[in-house]
Symmetry: C2
Subunit: 256 residues, 2 copies
């Protein structure tokens, strides 16, 4: 049975996609079979893993619309144990079209059911909003992983996100819990980076991942080659940090 | 008559709020009376200008719900010529509540009508999505200003944004046009920064602002003091860049 993790934060540009791609890829490197579902109409996870979105004949939108099964739209990546369900621009329409649809919050959960036991981990990369696509991800997920950028605005939206998680947990998905908070783009020379870590540690002492993702230019270069950091530059701090985070996440599973 | 400019890009974390605050503040420094409307439920523009959102008794949500006029919720900032309409968390509900409402796309335009002639510039800081709040901003605006981060994913969402602009221009607001594209977080040591500038210049030669906003840690520190960069550190490159951008924008008005 796969562990399904939603990677969400309505604050934009905090490293949701970078974490989705590189955590899923690092788990694949540790021989954990992983699937990444791109729930963002911008399709950054798809592009970042080398998918040419203009060549796609089907995508997540078709699955949500009920015309294709998830198995039909799966794509292999350069890593044997990593697969992706890509998204295209038409996913923007899904938020509006789903409003009046049957089981609108359960579309992702229902779509994942047939493939659930083929993977060790399934990651859901969310768009920067608390709309229906993110609610779908939280309804399907076992847990929520929250990337937080080490910048001043980082904590602003956190309480709204956790409120949404609690709402989904009460009404749609009783098993949902907070997997943890991971600090991204940490720059030790920058005072604010240290302040944010201390603030998060004070508010959520047992939910902050030990591994901190440092700011590393190689992480922002790797998507332009369509490769996760491990394949682009395995010696970079970005690659090391995400391998560490993957190990820490595997460790979470063992204690449960 | 105010020039109303929507600052939008559904890609997250590209500098929409930083540009909204500091461009509006820089225009106020040039004695242009400016108003900033915070359309993002996260309320980063409000916090970044020193508003304590927990103390607010009314906000943009009440205006969109028709229970208050915009004049009731205006707040003065530390700069004489800069005012803000703050937002609170309940704005998240507006996207859903407005779906079935009368004149749902015109709520911001209607709300601004009584104050239109009191300002030289009105800026609309948008959330990272192409939902109803952003469509409201585009319907109310004379033009669209697009901040683009100098990172790989920058150009991914641009075509979808311009398509939405064209759609709004055809159906809801015939005067809407592209004011320009401004490059943010430029780092001259970083190869990708140069590549993005060249790419944008190739695609939109006459729409790229000459002024480029450089990456500057002081810009990410100033919101924690609730001050625009000009009041936090007027000698910083961040402050200089936004003053330049303001001058360039004023120049746009003169040629029209
Ligand atoms: N640790 C890091 N070091 C350097 N750059 C990073 C790091 N993490 C992410 N980035 C860069 O920062 C930008 C934002 O990251 P990313 O796109 O992953 O955020 P996001 O939360 O998915 O954004 P959105 O809200 O638009 O979905 C990207 O250009 C990415 O390459
Ligand atoms: N030129 C710059 N130099 C350094 N940091 C910057 C610069 N511009 C913005 N930042 C920082 O980058 C982060 C993202 O910027 P900002 O919040 O303005 O983006 P946004 O597009 O409004 O995000 P969202 O999509 O969540 O609304 C913030 O922490 C901000 O302080
Ligand atoms: Mg993303
Ligand atoms: Mg913003």
């Amino acid at each position: 049975m796969a562990k399904i993790i939603a990677i969400a934060n309505q604050k934009g540009g905090v490293g949701k996609t970078t974490t989705s791609i590189n955590l899923a890829a690092s788990l694949a490197v540790h021989s954990k079979k992983s699937l990444l579902v791109d729930l963002d109409p911008q399709g950054n996870s798809s592009t970042g893993l080398g998918i040419d979105r203009s060549q796609l004949t089907s995508s997540l939108y078709d699955v949500l619309a009920g015309v294709r099964s998830l198995i039909d739209v799966l794509n292999q990546t350069e890593l044997n144990d990593l697969f992706i369900v890509p998204s295209t621009k038409d996913l923007v329409g899904a938020e509006i079209e789903l409003v009046a649809a049957e089981r609108r919050e359960y579309r992702i959960k229902d779509a994942l059911a047939p493939v659930h036991d083929r993977y060790d981990y399934i990651f859901l990369d969310c768009p920067p909003s608390l709309g229906l696509l993110t609610v779908n991800a939280l309804t399907a997920a076992d847990s929520l992983l929250v990337p937080i950028q080490s910048e001043y605005y980082a904590l602003e939206g956190l309480s709204a996100l956790l409120e949404t998680m609690n709402l989904v947990q009460r009404r749609l998905n009783s098993k949902l819990h907070l997997e943890g908070i991971v600090i991204t783009m940490f720059d030790s020379r920058n005072r604010i980076s240290h302040q944010v870590v201390e603030e998060v540690r004070a508010h959520f002492p047992d939910k902050l991942f030990r591994t901190i993702i440092r700011r590393n230019v190689r992480l922002s270069e790797s998507p332009s080659y369509g490769k996760p950091i491990y394949l682009y530059d395995a010696n970079s701090t970005g690659s090391q940090d995400y391998l560490e985070l993957a190990k820490e996440l595997i460790g979470h599973g063992e204690v449960n």
